[in-house]
């Protein structure tokens, strides 16, 4: 019976559960078996709690048997990036400094998922504190790409992407500070949605760059992404940057109607902008992937127009100034006193320095040093203030373009996933983020979608960017693009 259920689709698995075709315990066992089989190779999950998952599944089955009204996500089992709090479970941000730390409360996003009866299957590997583009900067070892285990999964939400694609969970949450949902989605071949800054509460998300961070969704199709997204874009009183623009509760049926509705019913303009001058560095396959997406959009009766986003060339500089400045402040709380690991020292300063020296990985240390330098007396105006002003110029440029266009079409990365260990120069690594960081700087929503395969069978994706709070339009056009591309990603691959 369970062979006929599409475990990779939120709508399919929750419908099968609601109809009584399968029990929650059976669904949980399906994923746990997949994890047992594949996780030793892929390292998508860094913390599992099978007893808790199975116990919660039994309780759900009991409630269903009693005829209780169940939430819209009953039957879905989600993987959660290891920087988002699930009460009682480990939150280590894949860092040694938080070894053994247990979340004392649910992140707001988790609480909303829980209130809809979604269950949680484990925490997912990431670059330490979100700092990286490959998930190689993890104290728990790298996550491997499900399509080629010699290649990286992308990062920093590499575990969230690899786990979803390998069928180890129904969908997952990641976080996106500079592309950390979209890049692994593109490298692994799933959908990745980064909502507008403030759309989803950040309460219970361990902070990296507070003006950039946003919780996002990774799933195997747009419809699943929409269901999880609309469940987490919900009220919060604990995050002062939450936008208080909750999504009206959308059921699977409502989303299906919304996503499958013809695009011409949308009351927006039909122009998609492409910043062609930024595409010079693309590999030929990444370029043809973008052209393929553009031609599908034309068939969906969009007009393609060249747009000027020349300031995106400065985005990496702006981003690495602001993100490291924010990180150096945010990570000062990890001092060996209040959380996680402590290395004792002769004095209090010695304790701080030894604890942080021993427990932070090299990339985190590099970013703290850079951020502290940028904020130090004498350099703050030249770096931090100039970068903030440049950020505003970039936002104004995006605003101008999005007055003319409904969407902007951009690559996610310049290439497909590359071999583990190939990117060992920090600057080269940072340059990977060219196409993703600018949307975080501007606070805009973006969706990454798989479009094609490379000659060596690795996925290639594109991203669509819209004006603030237009996630529903992104999901709508994303769904039509997904149907047009018909990539036929095998969902259960190994």
């Amino acid at each position: 019976m369970s062979d006929t259920i599409a475990f990779h689709s939120v709508a399919a698995v929750t419908a099968a559960f609601a109809k009584g075709e399968i029990s929650a315990v059976a669904i949980a066992n399906h994923y746990l078996k997949k994890i047992q089989e594949l996780n030793p190779q892929l390292n998508a999950f860094n913390h599992l709690f099978p007893e808790h998952t199975l116990q919660a599944a039994e309780e759900l089955d009991t409630r269903r048997a009693k005829g209780d009204k169940l939430g819209s996500l009953a039957g879905a089992f989600l993987g959660i990036k290891d920087n988002i709090h699930v009460a009682g479970e480990l939150t280590t941000c894949s860092s040694k400094i938080l070894k053994g730390y247990r979340a004392p409360f649910d992140a707001t996003a988790i609480a909303h998922l829980r209130s809809r009866d979604a269950l949680f299957i484990g925490k997912m590997n990431m670059d330490e504190f979100g700092m990286g583009s490959t998930t190689e900067n993890s104290a728990d070892g790298p996550t491997r790409n499900p399509w080629n285990q010699n290649c990286v999964a992308g990062g920093s939400s590499g575990g969230s992407a690899a786990g979803v694609v390998a069928g180890m969970c129904t969908a997952s949450l990641g976080s996106d500070t500079g592309g950390s949902v979209r890049l692994p989605a593109a490298f692994c071949g799933c959908v990745g949605l980064k909502p507008t800054y403030g759309r989803v509460s950040r309460y219970g998300l361990v902070e990296y760059g507070s003006s950039l961070d946003q919780i996002g969704v990774l799933a195997n199709d747009v419809a699943s992404t929409a269901l999880i997204y609309s469940s987490i874009a919900q009220p919060c009183q604990m995050d002062p940057t939450y936008a208080h623009r909750p999504i009206e509760t959308a059921t699977a049926d409502a989303w299906e109607r919304l996503l499958t509705a013809p695009l011409h019913q949308e009351n927006h303009n039909r122009v998609v902008g492409i910043p062609y001058s930024l595409l010079e560095g693309l590999s030929p396959e990444a370029r043809s992937t973008l052209d393929k997406a553009a031609s599908h959009l034309q068939q969906l009766s969009y007009t393609i127009r060249e747009v000027d986003l020349s300031l995106v060339r400065y985005a990496i500089s702006i981003y690495y100034i602001l993100a490291t400045a924010e990180a150096s402040t945010n990570l000062s709380r990890f001092d060996g006193i209040r959380y996680g690991q402590r290395t004792t020292g002769k004095s209090i300063d010695d304790l701080y320095e030894m604890t942080r020296g021993n427990a932070f990985g090299p990339e985190v240390k590099r970013r703290i040093l850079l951020g502290t330098y940028i904020l130090s007396a004498g350099y703050q105006d030249a770096y931090y203030k100039q970068a903030q002003k440049a950020r505003i110029l970039l936002i104004e440029q995006y605003q101008k373009v999005l007055q003319e266009c409904a969407f902007i079409l951009m690559p996610v990365a310049t290439t497909t996933a590359f071999p583990l260990g190939a990117m060992n120069d920090p600057l080269q690594m940072y340059l990977q983020d060219l196409y993703t960081v600018s949307t975080n700087l501007a606070g805009l929503p973006a969706i990454a979608l798989p479009i094609s395969w490379s000659h060596d069978h690795l996925p290639l994706g594109v991203q669509l960017i819209s004006a603030p709070y237009q996630e529903a339009s992104l999901l709508h056009v994303g769904h039509h693009l997904e149907q047009a591309v018909q990539l036929n990603f095998q969902k259960s691959i190994l």
Binding site: A87, G100, R102, P104, F105, D106, A111, S115, G198, S211, Q234, P235, Q237, M238, A243, P246, L311, Y314, S317, Y320, I321, G336, I337, R338, Y339, G340, R342, T344, I348, D349, L351, E353, R356, G357, F360, K365, R366, I368, L369, L370, T372, S376, A382, Y383, Q386, Q388, K389, A390, R391, I392, L393, I395, E396, Q399, P426, L427, Y430, L441, G443, P468
Partner: protein, 107 residues
């Protein structure tokens, strides 16, 4: 970046580095600083006063909100569930004594 400057910076960050790590680290940080210098090319004189980079667009949109006024009833139960105890807090600290966090002698 000179090694002495890096040593001072590392102390500001409260991160211990071994002496032999410093030369590579200094040249790595210098390379990144050289790269991000490119923002100096930008003429930002048109941007004068601001309180938040999002104020002109995203935040203003929130203020103008066409979004419905939300009942927060649902949320308060979530906040309630999230209240946590001294024991839960202390469970995450590296060292405790008599229900408090133990810290080294400050002298």
């Amino acid at each position: 970046m000179q090694e002495q400057e890096l040593r001072q910076l590392a102390h500001l960050c409260r991160i211990h580095f071994e002496e032999e790590q410093l030369p590579t680290l200094a040249s790595g940080i210098q390379k990144l600083l050289d790269y991000v210098q490119q923002i100096q090319e930008l003429d930002t004189s048109s941007i004068t006063d601001y309180t938040h980079p999002f104020e002109s667009w995203i935040l203003q949109k929130n203020l103008l909100a066409d979004a419905p006024v939300v009942s927060l009833g649902d949320q308060s139960s979530i906040d309630q569930a999230n209240a946590y105890s001294r024991e839960q807090f202390l469970a995450n600290t590296p060292d405790q004594i008599a229900g408090m966090v133990r810290v080294p002698n400050m002298q």
